[in-house]
Subunit: 712 residues, 2 copies
């Protein structure tokens, strides 16, 4: 069984590969024929996260016997929505189902020491009591068009001219915004072989409707993360509002009364963040030798600093819960990816694949059917850029501000003001126009910032910077100003007012002049560091990213010419459809079934003595005899998902909701680099478990009526 489309071509019959008539004109006919061959050969592999403009309908029909009609596709697409990562409308009144861990930011921000919704859970008695999530929004992909021609029009001369392309993208996005009033984003597919303009409807009023206790949502805690068999009710319900009223949504998913069963075909629709399946052998090797070890070390450092601080008091512990959750989730995931990277077979396959494409490139170039834009050999160019990336890695890491810190928010304020001054297409990619609204939203939300915790996190960052850059690096020198990290962090945080929503808003609105006039010590710190910080990033963008992008363009163009749309593009954080089968798996001789049941929840709870993170709240202990314990709880499938897919609806052939994706198994972490159908599994909460819990444990009669009006 092949691991992915990626590697299939390598095992094609020799006469097809060595075909001697691959001349310019004939090339594309042959490529089409090869495409068919690929299609036939890959009928067993379900890897790939497909954009809606390129769902392999025919392939799915052949393999699964399921015909996806345009109406089916339109309904699941419009029923899907981005909320943090992924979610889906499940009623005509704007009710959205997602993961507990996706809604966790909202739940946490609505919590106080006195009323801890994360611990106690939340169920809104009436619609009037649904609680608005600070800084949250929901977006829906309403339409898309191919803009490859527009983006690449002025770009024919040389693919290294990333600026022209960036200018075009910015222009396309701007024009779209003005014409449609929608959020517009140009999405790069096949690493530049295609560009698509995506248009989103945005609702910025999202309210929490129901969330179970974290003990249910995150049952098993960090130890059970990425583990299967699993017993987590990792779901939550929110509702989108418009003009103070629930959004009316003609497109939503009906809950499948019969759920799903072993062997069934299943689909998931969501926004997988990123995959790296087209990385070259040189890049994979860099990740293995340098990048992942650094990331693991950093995350472990941040984690232990927060843990230590959390141990000082119960309130500290509560405050640290949200960031710790994020860090531990990251840590297990990068550790898993790191493990996948250390499997030599991955690199062997990659080298074999690369050898094939290099030979193919040489052959086509000689016959005049191919000319690379980026130079004579894109693999060599990428290897050279990776060498530089390797050299710059310590500086990039040492000057990076961790996501979710007030330090990062302060820098975002400064960076946004600077970027607004630059001509379109010239600034830092991370701050280009398309992402600015969301950034502004986050900055100006009424989220609660804990000054004491942010002090610890700032100190943590300073220590990290010291270890990567040394004490004499100007970045470090300015951070510490002669003090210890502890002193410096306390001095800065003692005086800052950026934890106050009004201060952040004023600076955001005031732009550069407000920033330059500020004497807030945190803002002054990032403002002083900004020239160093941005120079390091601009260098990376210029010498590493741009070079790689152009070279990857070329490889993608070659692959795209041969494989065409039969190969799914890498994930890009945009809406994709995946198809798979519900199936158990064999882990080194241990058979794991396709589903778990509530029986297993109590087995694990009791086996671990009802102790955290395997403890259950009183309502669940009391409901043990009420519940139908045989209800399927968490099921697994071969669905190809990755970070960002959290909260994606799992849908059956009829387009009904059968579950909510919330995790993968440990083996699934390797999916970042190559899809593994045999062992990688995606985890979903079964819709029947949600209904059973809402009914028997939470007594949420009104919600059930809204969710299952069609159930008898």
């Amino acid at each position: 069984m092949s691991d992915s489309l990626f590697f299939v071509l390598v095992s094609m019959p020799t006469q097809a590969r060595n075909s001697s008539f691959l001349l310019s004109g004939r090339f594309f006919r042959v490529a089409a024929a090869l495409g068919l061959a690929l299609l036939a050969q890959t009928a067993h592999a379900d890897g790939g996260m497909w954009p809606f403009h390129n769902v392999p309908v025919e392939q799915i029909k052949q393999k699964h016997g399921v015909t996806l009609t345009p109406e089916w596709l339109e309904n699941v697409r419009l029923a899907s929505a981005r909320f943090g990562s992924s979610s889906a409308f499940v009623s005509a009144d704007g009710l959205l189902l997602t993961n507990h861990h996706v809604a966790k930011g909202c739940i946490q921000r609505l919590s106080t020491a006195e009323n801890d919704l994360a611990a106690k859970g939340f169920l809104s008695a009436t619609r009037a009591e649904e609680r608005r999530c600070p800084g949250s929004e929901v977006t829906q992909l309403v339409s898309y068009i191919d803009v490859t021609a527009r983006v690449t029009a002025n770009n024919a001369a040389g693919a290294t001219d990333a600026r022209a392309r960036q200018t075009a993208i910015t222009e396309v996005e701007k024009q779209c915004r003005e014409e449609t009033k929608l959020r517009c984003q140009v999405v790069t597919m096949y690493r530049g072989a295609q560009y698509w303009l995506y248009r989103y409807k945005v609702w910025s009023d999202v309210r929490l409707v129901w969330a179970p206790e974290t003990r249910l949502g995150f049952f098993g805690g960090d130890p059970d993360n990425f583990v299967y068999p699993r017993y987590a009710l990792d779901v939550a319900l929110v509702r989108a509002y418009e003009d103070g009223k629930p959004v009316v949504t003609p497109h939503y998913l009906r809950l499948a009364k019969d759920g799903i069963k072993d062997g069934d075909t299943v689909f998931s629709i969501g926004n997988p963040g990123s995959t790296d399946r087209s990385l070259t052998a040189a890049e994979l090797n860099f990740l293995r030798m340098q990048w992942y070890p650094i990331r693991v070390t950093n995350a472990e450092g941040a984690r232990s600093d927060l843990l230590e601080w959390g141990e000082l008091s119960a309130e500290n512990q509560r405050r640290a819960l949200d960031p710790l959750f994020g860090i531990e989730n990251t840590l297990k995931s990068i550790r898993g990816e790191n493990r996948a990277l250390n499997v030599e077979r991955l690199h062997q396959n990659k080298r074999a694949d690369e050898a094939f494409w290099k030979a193919k490139a040489a052959e086509l170039t000689e016959k005049g059917a191919l000319r690379f834009k980026s130079g004579s050999d894109p693999w060599v160019a990428i290897a050279a850029a990776t060498e530089k990336q390797n050299r710059y890695a310590f500086e990039m890491t040492g000057t990076e501000y961790a996501w979710g810190t007030l330090l990062r928010v302060a820098n975002d304020i400064v960076a946004l003001a600077h970027e607004a001054q630059k001509p379109a297409g010239e600034g830092l990619r991370a701050y280009r126009e398309a992402v600015r609204p969301q950034l502004r939203n986050t900055i100006s939300s009424n989220r609660i910032w804990y000054r004491d915790m942010e002090t610890i996190r700032l100190q943590s960052k300073m220590e990290e910077a010291m270890s990567y850059l040394g004490q004499d690096h100007p970045f470090v020198a300015r951070m510490l100003q002669g003090g210890t990290p502890q002193e410096a962090a306390q001095r800065v945080m003692a005086g800052t007012k950026l934890d106050q929503q009004g201060e952040r808003r004023a600076l955001l609105e005031g732009g550069l002049s407000a920033i330059n006039a500020s004497n807030d010590p945190l803002l002054v710190l990032v403002r002083d560091l900004y020239p160093i910080w941005t120079a390091i990033r601009e260098r990376d963008q210029r010498e590493v990213e741009a070079v790689k992008e152009a070279a990857h363009d070329d490889i993608a163009r070659l692959r795209f010419a041969v494989n065409g749309l039969n190969e799914a593009p890498d994930a890009t954080g945009t809406l994709r459809l995946a198809v798979g089968k519900v199936a158990g798996f064999d882990r080194d001789g241990i058979l794991n079934p396709w589903t778990t049941t509530f029986y297993g929840l109590y087995d694990r709870n009791i086996a671990f003595g009802n102790k955290p993170p395997f403890d259950l709240p009183a309502n669940w202990l009391a409901a043990r005899d009420e519940l139908n314990l045989a209800t399927p709880f968490n099921f697994i499938s071969t669905l190809d998902i990755i970070g960002g897919s959290s909260g994606s609806p799992a849908v059956n052939a009829k387009g009904e909701l059968v579950g909510v994706m919330f995790d993968g198994n440990l083996e699934g972490l390797g999916n970042r680099f190559a899809y593994q159908e045999r062992t990688a599994r995606a985890l979903a909460v079964d819709v029947r478990a949600i209904v059973e819990a809402l009914d028997k444990v939470y007594g949420a009669k009104d919600l059930l009526k809204e969710l299952t009006p069609h159930w008898k």
Copy 2:
């Protein structure tokens, strides 16, 4: 944490190792000092299966805070009994608790197509209806004495003179039998550094009292074998009889009403078959490169032949169940050991350990404190013998008769007759006097032989022999006599009467003259093959076994001089006590709890759709709401067990029965070569699950009264 006592010495302080005063006289004082150092250093490791004459009482007290009194030790020893592998008396009336899979041979032999006790289970309504197990016996270790001096007395001249030793052993055993009327066996400890005479009381009337359905005893079947979490009621009750009445047993284990819990100290008492912890690096390498691959291949061949035959009819399938169970059990176990052998660290540790002992030997030899009997370097001698073993491996394998086949039984009849003619100590080790009674018992039992199945197994053997020896080897030529394996097997089996108990008994009693007069085709076959078969084994015994044994003697003597009784001897199929802690384990990031519950049984049953091997009989499905599902079912511990430990009682500090050992996890298979405290776990059925099942599912009120008279 050190993996075993075995490797501890390597990490001792340098000054102790390089101690310069290790001269002859002082050597043993130093050794004693080293022994104490070892004791202190190994306080964390529970590895080791300890003979009752050398239980490390002080070490257990230090580590576990449990004082094992002589009375405690005597009671658990006399309460333990060998029944197939291990078992324990659990009432004053001779009731014995063991595993379902240990009693399986008996259950199977009492079954017929019409009344399949394996499928339906068995519960004797009254004592009168308890059913005698054909060919079974129970033995109890009543006493033991050190006979090292007697065995090695005439042996001082040269350790290669294995014959003198064997003669002495035979003499000791014979004299003991005549004096005590007990079964007597000389047990070799520390590979010849010690010899112990064990005396056993034997009961040959054993009756089946209760056995659950195989679906419970072997829940999860082969897929769940060696797997944890586990949900198997792998227990059965038999009763020992004497003169037609239940044996009265003052020594038995009382059932612990409170069972056991996470972190508790636990003991197991049983007859672990064999470990190979003192193998040399050369031997481990041979096992990895040659022996295990051969064994896996053979077992797979035998398995697929039986499976194929079983598919022909439901009755075939039923008949094949028992041998298939054995083969699949063997297969998973040798695969697991094979996997453990392929971990390079094992070999690294072994080489490091060996380097240390070689240096130690050189040092001591130079100082005149040591003289090896077997030659200048026992490791070199073992390596040379292993080289021969490697060369003879195909002939040994090709001519081996699989255990449990009628072919093997026929050969046993011939071999026993021949061996009886030889002077004591000169024959094949596998047929020495001590084991003959049990062999005779097995041969002359009224076990049912299925001629059709034996035909397939004979054919299977013939094909295997062909593949190892080639068609021209005299062994193969005589087997086939010009026909195909199928023809030859059918011809032999069509005419044989050895499936009849009377025929076998007559030949057994008639000895060589009866054998030479027989024209039973199966007997004639093995009789003709006997000279080849026995010559190959005699050569192996002479050139491989004897050489290795003498060399291992030397190494053991060296180790024993340094480590003394602080190191447990390799398992030898005799009664041992192991000590450990009840503890979960972490399997590559997946936390496994210390116990499972009945909740988990139903979770797994439902998750696999109540399909074999995860299906449950109707009584269990019906009892779901009756049972206390939170009852601990299967628990795990760090107990050091191995094949042969099946049915061993698990005992708490008070000497009460808390469970029955029945399996290990996959990681535990590596225990053969080195104990792994961190991940290897022994599985036991919790005594509370047995009581709950007897009560709620089987309604065995009388048995419960007998088992728990002291429970309120």
